[in-house]
Structure formats: structure tokens, C-alpha cells
Symmetry: C2
Amino acid sequence: MAVALRAGVRPDDRVAVRRLVASTGFFTANEEEIAVELVEDALAKGESGSGYHFLFAEDGGHVVGYVCFGPIAGTAASHDLYWIVVDSARRGGGVGRVLERACVDAVKALGGLRLYVDTSSRSQYEPTRAFYRASGYEEVARLKDFYAAGDGKVIFVKALDAGTAPGAA
Amino acid sequence: MAVALRAGVRPDDRVAVRRLVASTGFFTANEEEIAVELVEDALAKGESGSGYHFLFAEDGGHVVGYVCFGPIAGTAASHDLYWIVVDSARRGGGVGRVLERACVDAVKALGGLRLYVDTSSRSQYEPTRAFYRASGYEEVARLKDFYAAGDGKVIFVKALDAGTAPGAA
């Protein structure tokens, strides 16, 4: 695992994010557009201004994964993990785990105490749900038929230990 | 109960919404700003463009309550009931019930099949939660400490009967 983490979104991340999201085969064209729009929003307003923070995993300068997260408006210290995407060619190689840990550290640094993530109840997403469970997230809700008939929303949360210093594993 | 319903947001609703939200004593200054921003968004982009739809309850041309709702992005037919606010002087008079019914009809007309509403778990909101239960909403999730320590998010949903004609009681 020779990936390096980079904070701070750049204009060419629009292309990288589109490529990564498309590589998974998981997302609709509309979801792909939304992923790119969040990058554009962060480029236009800054990460704090937009509320969308990014971390990129790179291998030899090539982006192989990213995570997008930010504070939930109207809450004191809850954050959302909006997207965590790994290049399909690198799945199972630990990139997602590195990104998730870095995201947790960054959210703690922003003062976050709880990290929420939503996913689909469809069987296609079972590996995603298993990843969150293995990463210490607890399933706290399941909203039947939320996305569509037969496609519910599963909400996970990870309570962040304020006592752990950022960067500590 | 001599209230009339009005669809379609107008510039002077900014003042009305601010007055109604402030009258309740329930919301923070920040929440008051958000309520007004949704009106401004709907005025600028149209209700469909903004995703924020409004219905106003009026008595003699005076706004005594309103409801704000709209489709949830990324879902086939789920809608959110964002705000339902009644002038504190008119609480208990059935205005909320009239607005909720009109909202359900409007959501059905937009093709919505499920109507979600979030509220706080704090005791101050027990009358709000009782209102939703009495209106046919089911509690489907409780996210502990979501808004702040000791202040959870309660999620209700009402499954809308596609077979019922809009307007029917």
C-alpha cells in the first residue's frame, strides 16, 4: 500500500472524481453529476464555505480514491461522510480504510463528535455496509423504500472519541 | 376555522415567515434565517427549481401559518416536510392540521409516495411529535445526540396512499 494522502481540492479533481465514480459501476449518471458538483462547489467557495471537505488518495500522483465529508447544518458536532470512492482496480487493497481513518481524523480536527453515513439497503451494497461495520460504524436506522420501492436507506454512525489525538491510530 | 389556503410564494412572505417562526419561540436566530432563505430560494428559482414548495394559511389576508416541503434529491418518490409553522396565537386551532392535509395532497400531486419529517427528541418537541403521530406518521428512527448532546433526531414517515384522490379527506 503505497498511497499518499492529499488534502485540498484542485481543479483537475473534477476529472478524477468523475473517473473514480464511473469506475465503480455503482452510481447513476445523475449521482456522478452530483459528485462532480460537490467538487465544483468546494472549488468555488472553498471547503469551509461549501461545507464539502475532501481528501484524496494518490499513488505516484495518480488519484486512486477520495472521501468527501462535512458538517451537518443545524447540528452542534455531527458530520456526514458523503462519498468514499475507490478506483475499481484498487478495491480490496486497503485504500478505503486509509481514507476512512484520515476522514475521521479530519472530522475530529473540525470538532466533529459523530460521523454519519447513509447507504442503500440493496444487496449490491452489502460489501459497503460490511466495510462500515468493520470500520466501527453502528447501524442506527433503516428507512424502508426511501430511495425507491425496495431500496431503503441505511444510516450508520460512528461516535468519535474526542479524547483521541488526531493522527493517532 | 376561517383560514384559506394559498399556494405560490410571494416577496412579502419573507416577512410573514420570519414573523411566524419568531412567534413560536421554538427556533434559534440561525433557524429563522434558514426559514427565510428557503423562501428567497423559491422566489429566485421558482418552487420547482429550488425544490422548496410552500402553502400558506391565511385569515382575512393575514398569514397565520405555512408549510414548506419538497422532493428529496436522489430518491424516486420521497419528500421532506421541512417546516410547518403556525402563529403562536393560533396554536391548537386546527391550522396545523389543515396545512398538513394540504401538504399531503400537494405531495401526492407531485408524485410523492412517502413524506418524511425530522424533529428533535427534546421534551419541548413532544407536542410536535404528538401532532405527527395523530396525523398518521410513524416514528422510524431516533438518532441519539444528532443535533447536540442530549438532543436527538426523530424521523417520522407517512406512506401516502397513491389510490386516494388529491383533495379527498
